[in-house]
């Protein structure tokens, strides 16, 4: 319990300290900024409070697009990793191909997806799917192939066939890597969804709010959208790490105290 308390108290107190410095103008002095360039936390909070319902609705749209896209993208990525493991000679090329996708910037991807999907949501999911594939494929592949020494020999000595090796050894072994990929993907899917909304055929979503307001010098409003995005990102991350803690209790990364 005390550990748990500590683990929330530390980040929280640092956060409060940061906000305090920010509020009292520490960052503005340090970075030579004026409050109308970077609003102070109370300014952001009061603006956010006034526009909370709209901001939350926009957040819902962005988050749902990000999650759906991430699920599709991660599944495709995982499949690619499986194929690359089962058919190492021919399948490995798939990993190279997805990483090539990773080099296409969202700014170029968004207008292309606008052509493929006429709705903002479809475009968002399309962009997030492409962006999240590579991280999952590469991490899952490592998990599926980077086995403990001798474990493969042990399985062989039991005369286990490839199927058993895959389901009993490789699949459990890749779980931690899958979670690492999910943690990377949750942040990249949020930011991809946000940036795709800069160009989407709609006027909803966090990305539209951020772009529209920052360009129009509504800094407090723009930053309250950024705040919401950050909070959503943290919540999604916490959910994933909670699932992770349950799913891979046996793994070393969860046992170190």
């Amino acid at each position: 319990m005390t550990d748990k308390l500590k683990s929330t108290l530390w980040p929280l107190s640092i956060g409060v300290l940061t906000l305090l410095i920010w509020q009292l103008g520490g960052f503005h002095a340090l970075l030579d900024l004026k409050p109308f360039q970077l609003p102070v936390p109370t300014g952001i909070a009061s603006t956010l409070a006034q526009n909370l319902t709209k901001a939350l609705r926009d957040c819902g749209i962005t988050v749902s697009g990000a999650i759906v896209g991430m699920i599709i993208g991660s599944s495709i990525g995982f499949l690619i990793a499986v194929v690359a493991t089962v058919f190492p000679k021919w399948g490995y090329g798939g990993l190279t191909v997805v990483s090539a996708f990773n080099a296409i910037p969202i700014v170029a991807l968004s207008p292309i997806m606008n052509r493929w999907f006429s709705t903002g949501m479809g475009q968002k999911i399309g962009v997030v799917t492409v962006v999240t594939m590579a991280a999952m494929a590469i991490n899952a592949y490592r998990g599926l192939t980077d086995l403990k020494p001798f474990s493969l020999d042990l399985m062989k000595s039991y005369a286990a066939n490839r199927r058993t090796v895959f389901f009993r050894l490789r699949l459990p072994n890749c779980l931690p890597s899958v979670f690492t990929a999910l943690k990377i993907n949750i942040t990249s899917s949020m930011i991809a969804a946000i940036v795709s909304e800069y160009f989407a055929t709609s006027t909803s979503g966090l990305g539209f709010g951020i772009k529209d307001n920052l360009r129009k010098a509504e800094m407090a409003m723009g930053w309250s959208y950024i705040t919401i995005a950050a909070l959503a990102g943290i919540v999604l991350y916490l959910i994933i790490s909670m699932v992770e803690r349950r799913a891979v209790k046996w793994h070393a990364s969860q046992r170190i105290k």
Partner: protein, 360 residues
Amino acid sequence: MKKYLSLLLCMALFLSLALAGCGSNGDTAASGSSTAGSSASTSGSSESTASTAAPDKITLQLKWLPQSQFMGYYVAQEKGYYKEQGIDIEILPGGSDIIPEQQVYNGVADIGVTWVSSLMKYQGQGWDLVETAQIFQKSALLLVSKTKAGIKTPADLKGKKVGSWFGGNEYELYAMIESAGLNRDKDLKLVQQDYTMDQLINDEIEAASAMTYNEYGLLLESGIPEAELSKLDMNEHNVAMLEDCLFVNSEWLAKNEDVFVRFLKASIKGWEEACKDPEAAGNIVFNVDKSVSLEHQVYMAKEVAKLVVPEGFDAAKIGYIDNKAIQQTADYALKYGLLTKAADISKCVNSKYWEQAAAK
């Protein structure tokens, strides 16, 4: 243990710094320019240099990509008009993540190009910026649709899906929509356009925002004949707001009055020349960056010339600030929700430097 760690940290830091160092050097060599930082520091010094001494470094931030929309500056640069005035100019391209008002306020750039309404918004929020010359005398914004959609008057927009770029570019549309007695939230659907015209071509939206000099030309170049397009012109419907203007940071201006007047002189000369021969101006811009076709740059140059020197406008007055038009821009900006309180025109605009520059 601590010693080890700090050693590791130092090494990593050193490595990254060294890498960053060579990286930026390499970049400078490759792009052959990039003096934003140094120009910001030199511009701080207030002495006015005669053209015989070392030239003054001036950085101009464009609102958008290098294209004939900004041909006057490129012509002045190409023909050496800035050099004649003892100015070493650097023209920074804009982009979707670049906000000229912020660049100028930050000191990354000395002078910026932006839309008047957008500038007023920043001024209203406390940014100490001032407009010093009005390059475009007319609004270039159109609402374009295919004739089959039957949009002939603003009232026909009822029930349609209409595109805008937002981010401050939507207020002329609001004015047009509401002047036709429509409610912009209920009577039609406003959606965001990406910066291509594909949504209109693909019939995803029924009417799209387009600038006379850019997007409208792209539509024609995409193979849609002019007869199949209908357009609503902001000027004709009396909802025009002013667009491209020059602005500076007041603090910077106070220290650099002389340099700025020289900059204006050279720029006006460049614009004059460009408007006289748009074809040549389009060629000059095309040589800056060849990603956009020459045909389109020339088309744009011709259209932009009509905005800078409209029919009946004296070409010697390029850059003139028409207070009546500025007031209309401010009024619409207030009425349709961009501004929360009325703008004080006398504080937003300062014609003094333009008058000095245009006097010759």
